[in-house]
């Protein structure tokens, strides 16, 4: 156990799985699978496992995703790290192949593969293509692909272990804005389930549901609201597909008020699905959504920071919902 950064925690998980399974491969571009942590040995997958198994490709996300799928179909565990610039380039192969093959083959195709998809949405200044935070919605829509989005280094490691051991394709979303989070993370391998939300804070006045990069702002808002006398139940979705309906319904049955928070665009954001599922199961609750407007993120920090949901927005929305 030691305090570890996000990427160190994740690569620790990957390294151990690769040590345990000599067939496993890792494909990357731009972002070498390298991480360091104070007082701990540097992790460098390329150096440890060699370029035969850990491949630095040209800029071709379509190949990266397709190759991982092909490796999985051929019986090898495989993962790829797709930087945020290219997170939708391989959409076709995930949506139309990985997501459907097991079903279309009557269960014969197995795909023990992980697509690590870097997301941003946290960085002002980089404009439409490099500040967007929309792929949670896109990938969560696909049947046959598990789409998860950890929000802490502990979950990031545990969900990576689970994803790599899962027989089905997993889109593992990585909100890069969280890369600076550090917390206590065990050295040994452990699993965090790929289908369970987690209650981060219990409370009876209002349920706030977020995921990924929204979570730090949700927790900040929950703290501010507690200081103002409002008991917030804060839920981290962690898995967008499958979505943990039970945890959501149980909470709102208690609080009768649900606020969802997304960095994704308003239309069809994960919160829309959360509200729909709760509304089908809970009578008489009240709802509100905080999300990024249906506009590409502009470069100007003045425009972008006004549009990006933050703790102040959440606090205000919570007050209006409860008040």
């Amino acid at each position: 156990m030691a305090r570890k950064s996000w990427m160190y925690s994740v690569l620790e998980a990957v390294r151990q799985e690769m040590r345990d399974d000599p067939n496993m491969v890792w494909i990357f571009e731009l972002t070498p699978p390298v991480a360091s942590n104070p007082g701990m040995p540097v992790i460098n997958l390329e150096r440890e496992f060699g370029r035969g198994r850990v491949v630095n490709t040209g800029i071709d996300e379509n190949w990266m995703a397709s190759a991982v799928l092909g490796a999985g179909l051929a019986g090898s565990k495989a993962a790829t790290y797709i930087p945020y610039q290219g997170a939708c380039m391989p959409f076709q192969v995930i949506q139309n192949h990985a997501g459907k093959l097991r079903h279309m083959t009557g269960g014969k195709a197995a795909m023990p593969i992980v697509f690590v998809m870097e997301m941003t949405g946290q960085t002002p200044g980089f404009a439409g293509q490099h500040s967007d935070y929309e792929i949670d919605t896109y990938y969560a829509h696909i049947p046959g692909v598990k789409t998860v989005i950890p929000s802490t280094p502990y979950d990031a490691k545990g969900m990576m272990v689970s994803a790599l051991r899962d027989p089905d394709p997993v889109v593992y979303l990585y909100p890069a804005g969280l890369r600076e989070l550090i917390e206590e993370v065990p050295d040994e391998q452990y699993e965090v389930p790929l289908d369970k939300a987690v209650v981060r804070q219990e409370g009876g006045d209002l349920t706030i549901v977020g995921s990924g990069a929204s979570m730090p702002e949700v927790m900040k808002a929950a703290e501010a609201l507690a200081a103002a006398g409002m008991a917030v139940e804060a839920i981290d979705l962690r898995s967008l597909k499958p979505m943990d309906t039970e945890t959501l319904v149980n909470s709102v049955t208690k609080t009768r008020r649900l606020l969802t928070v997304d960095q994704s665009y308003y239309t069809l954001c994960p919160g829309a699905e959360v509200i729909a599922r709760v509304a089908e199961n809970v009578e008489g609750a009240r709802y509100k959504r905080v999300a990024f407007p249906d506009a590409p993120p502009p470069a100007s920090p003045e425009m972008f920071l006004w549009m990006r949901p933050n703790a102040d927005h959440i606090v205000e929305a919570a007050r209006r919902l409860v008040g």
Partner: protein, 405 residues
């Protein structure tokens, strides 16, 4: 992998012959140089590249030299701002070192008249050189890169999305891949409507690996589109050497697959770039189809730079934190700086008797002043209004704010 075309022939020729006759001599010398430098590449098969630069007026040559200087001093001034001005917010994928490519290509193009008249260029995430060479307003561009409301694109785009269709600058693009395919669509429309416009796509060596590179060339060849793909091979895509993404030394060899001309050119020499571009443009305008030009060049700075950079530590001026493996050796950088496109252009113009050393100095001083004034003007420009982020999603109206619940 350092490709080091022999340009000595040019310089020696420049010393020997006076005035216009020097250019005639150079026409022969450059062809000889091309034969020497291009070695086994297929460019030799297209040895009919004319020495078109010999027909350029002094004014045109001066304009090209000035463009090279404007690009260089924009870069250097921006880098200085990042190092010294805590209030400066712009970032950049620096183009310094590659100036002769954008300048030589755009000098062969029609650079006004909007999308229905001008030749169109599609740029990359490293766009400032292309923009200035195509005629984008310097002040407006500098303002855009600093997120000002009066910037070229109102502060919505910044460096990676500057665009000015009026001069045929279709825009920068933060992605590697789709650009060239989209560019062939413009070329297709131009051909379908019977226009004589030409479309140029700039792309780095990294684009070779994308499926889009091959789709663009294949469709351009099949449809004989007025399309020119200019590969700026600066040896590195992001932080990896191009040998990680292309099995050939000369990317131009790929042209053979699509049965189109593939030309390797010394990207440090604006005259050689111009000659190759003019040949390709004439060919495209005449309806003879696409050309692939590979300009061998180099970027002086790292992949990108941002405010807060410190020499040798971060960003554009030393080792990038992401550059953990496979990054470029310093002596390679220094070797390329010995073949600086500014120096080469200046020496050629002085050698040809277009300008003398004093005039060259005078031009550079004026350019520096223009760039300084642009940055000073930008620092006074208004920032964007937050609510404007909801505009320009569609041609009409605004979208709703959703961030407040």
């Amino acid at each position: 992998m350092l490709d080091n075309p022999d340009r000595e022939i040019n310089d020696k020729g420049a010393d020997r012959q006076p005035g216009t006759s020097r250019r005639n001599f150079l026409k022969i010398a450059a062809l000889a140089g091309a034969t020497v430098s291009l070695g086994g590449s297929i460019a030799r098969a297209n040895g009919e590249i004319g020495f078109w630069a010999s027909e350029l007026s002094d004014e045109q040559l001066l304009a090209m030299y000035t463009t090279i200087l404007r690009i260089r001093w924009h870069e250097r001034t921006m880098a200085d701002k990042m190092l010294t001005d805590p209030g400066y917010r712009g970032y950049n994928h620096f183009y310094a070192g590659q100036e002769a490519v954008a300048t030589g290509v755009c000098a062969a193009l029609r650079n006004s008249g909007g999308v229905m008249q001008a030749d169109l260029i599609y740029s990359t995430h490293r766009p400032s050189g292309h923009a200035l060479a195509k005629g984008v307003d310097l002040k407006a561009m500098v303002a855009e890169m600093d997120f000002r409301a009066t910037g070229l694109n109102g502060g919505y785009g910044a460096e990676m999305h500057i665009a000015d269709p009026e001069v045929g600058f279709m825009g920068a693009d933060g992605m590697i891949g789709p650009g060239p395919v989209i560019a062939t669509g413009s070329a297709f429309a131009i051909k379908a409507r019977g226009s004589d416009q030409v479309v140029v796509n700039f792309g780095g060596d990294g684009t070779y690996a994308t499926p889009h590179f091959h789709s663009a060339l294949n469709n351009a060849a099949l449809l004989r589109l007025p399309f020119i793909y200019v590969i700026e091979n600066n040896l590195y895509h992001q932080y990896a050497h191009y040998s990680f993404s292309c099995p050939m030394k000369d990317i131009a060899d790929a042209a053979r697959t699509y049965r189109i001309p593939g030309v390797v050119v010394d990207g440090q020499d604006v005259i050689q770039v111009y000659n190759a571009a003019k040949t390709a443009v004439d060919r495209a305008r005449a309806g003879e189809g696409p050309t692939l030009i590979e300009a061998k060049t180099y970027r002086y700075y790292n992949h990108w730079g941002a405010p807060g950079a410190r020499p040798g530590e971060l960003g554009a001026f030393g080792y990038d934190p992401l550059a953990i493996s496979s990054f470029r050796p310093e002596r390679e950088l220094r070797a390329w700086m010995q073949r600086d496109p500014v120096d080469i252009a200046r020496n050629i113009l002085v050698g040809w008797g277009v300008i003398d050393a004093a005039k060259a100095e005078e031009i550079e001083t004026a350019v520096r002043q223009e760039v300084d004034e642009a940055f000073a003007w930008v620092a006074e420009q208004p920032l964007c209004t937050p609510e404007d982020g909801l505009r320009h999603v569609f041609a009409e109206g605004t979208v709703e704010a959703r961030q407040f619940g």
